[in-house]
């Protein structure tokens, strides 16, 4: 059944829009940095170049990948929602859901298979991003030490100590995107067309991200439990030392949210009257 779901997803032209967008976005950044990378680095390092003498290939493939990943923070969840928000609501809208549900397959299985298919899509999209962002950046800019510029500090990671961090970061991002897929699936179960769940997922993520990033004491207690706060947990792998406890906590929060979203979807969908 999973194969059938994946077949449906990858037969839809809409699915490939996401891959196109990711490719275009990464290429635009890479080409811009090929053209004007030196000025960008000079501007970014102006605060620290007076105190430190940083030499070597600063504008290397690792840094460019890091810049691309940071820029795609909002876009990738939107692209995941584009497919995950459609898996139930889109079928309700097309009228195929009722045909599907006249088959001897349990509703829970249908939800879980659709969720798994959406996660497979998310993983493939991330894998594609890894190939395009990391692969092409290394091809265009070569490798070197990664200078991770933060608002209050900068971390220099040695060239040979970086690749495992990217692998770990992509794995963490996969977990975060699984949570996004679960949220989109939940909203999809409540709707009969896919616009609502896609916009709803994005709306929730954007609003919660604002809460997560606002430095107001009133939000301090709440924001540590918002999944959006932990979606950027992959950045921890580019700190030195790596804050494993914080990353572990972020992973647990994301897993709990995923279980909650999928569990609620199964519970609701099992009881839903299909009137579409």
């Amino acid at each position: 059944m999973l194969r059938l779901e994946l077949y449906k997803i990858f037969k839809k032209p809409r699915t490939y829009i996401s891959f196109g967008i990711v490719t275009a976005f990464a290429l635009v950044i890479q080409l811009a940095l090929v053209a004007d990378g030196k000025n960008f680095i000079a501007f970014a390092m102006q605060g620290v170049s007076a105190q430190f003498d940083i030499g070597g290939n600063v504008l290397n493939g690792y840094l460019v990948t890091y810049i691309i990943l940071q820029s795609l923070l909002v876009q990738i969840p939107l692209l995941i929602a584009l497919v995950a928000g459609d898996v139930l609501a889109g079928e309700a809208n097309m009228g195929t859901l009722r045909l599907l549900l006249t088959k001897p397959v349990s509703r829970s299985k249908i939800v879980l298979v659709k969720f798994t298919a959406a996660v497979c899509y998310a993983l493939l999209l991330l894998l594609w991003l890894a190939v395009i962002a990391l692969g092409l950046s290394i091809l265009f800019f070569g490798t070197g030490d990664l200078v991770n510029m933060k608002s209050d500090a900068f971390v220099v990671l040695l060239k040979d100590d970086i690749m495992w961090r990217y692998i770990a970061a992509f794995m963490f991002a996969a977990l975060a995107m699984t949570t996004v897929a679960a949220l989109a699936l939940l909203l999809s179960a409540f709707a009969d067309n896919s616009i609502g769940p896609i916009m709803g997922t994005m709306g929730i993520i954007v609003v919660l991200m604002i809460f997560s990033t606002l430095d107001l004491p009133i939000f301090d207690v709440v924001k540590q439990y918002l999944f959006t706060t932990h979606m950027v947990g992959w950045k921890g792998f580019f700190d030195d030392p790596v804050p494993y406890d914080a990353i572990r906590f972020s992973a647990i929060v994301l897993v709990v949210y995923t279980i909650l979203f999928v569990g609620t979807t199964v519970f609701y969908f099992r009881k839903k009257d299909i009137k579409s």
Binding site: M1, G95, T96, L99, L101, T102, K103, P104, V105, D273
Partner: protein, 311 residues
Amino acid sequence: MSDNIIEAKALSKTFGSFTAVTDLSFSIQQGDVYGFLGQNGAGKSTTIRMLLGLIYPDAGEVYIKGQLFNNRSRHLLQHIGAIIERPNMYLYLTGWDNLKMFARLSGKPIKEQRLHEVLEIVGLKGREQDKVKAYSQGMKQRLGIAIALVHNPDLLILDEPTNGLDPQGIAEMRLLIQSLSRDHGKTILISSHLLYEIEQIATRMIILHRGKKVVEGAVGQLLDPAETLMKVDILPDDSIGVKLNSSEWNRHIHEMSAAKLVFKMHPSQMPALNNWLVAQGAQVLQIRSSHSLEAYFLSLTNEADVKAGTV
């Protein structure tokens, strides 16, 4: 063991303040072509969705082949093939892909040969590699029937299968359904608001009105020829009524006015009645038989409305 393929017991369903179906019971037996009749909004689609587990009844139960059907016994759906209202499929896939996909979900192992067979039955052979978005409405309906048939179910449920078809398509669909019953031995539940279609196809039927059963039975019995309404238009003549009341035709009178006489009788008696009327000096203008399902349906639903005080 009962011959019932499917049985509904006291089904009821309410959506908010709207009662869609009330205390509805019926059963469909092996070999039936069971007509599900009712106006739009009578509760046909809601009932069919309850039979298929798409909508959960507020009260009542559904039995498929004698076993209680619910969320834990969805495997029983392998005995049923259905099209619900419009035949919606994956438009971006070919007819073949759609058929194969739903065949795999049917709960039975199905060989490719069977897919070719059902395409042949519904007359789509040669068009299966076209994308469904290029199909006409009639072709989509046929593909829907192929999907419903592919796992060789005991019961076919066809909800408004002629919806959206042109007259030619309706006639072809009727022939297909008759062939499925006659040549392939399928038990069929067919719902429609088109009375003529049901009259042509069904062997048994139920009439629903405002979510309630008005009548159920064999079409042949419900439409007993001895109950045919014969309408006779005459030039206005008050004396004919008096003569009729004192004649042997008295017991057949259904309605009477100076210019219009309605008798409930077998059509074979009409020539004798006509001769008698002419002999009594009546100037007969026209004789019409109105023993159709439509007349029967309207009389029953009007009666139900009167009883319910809604008219």
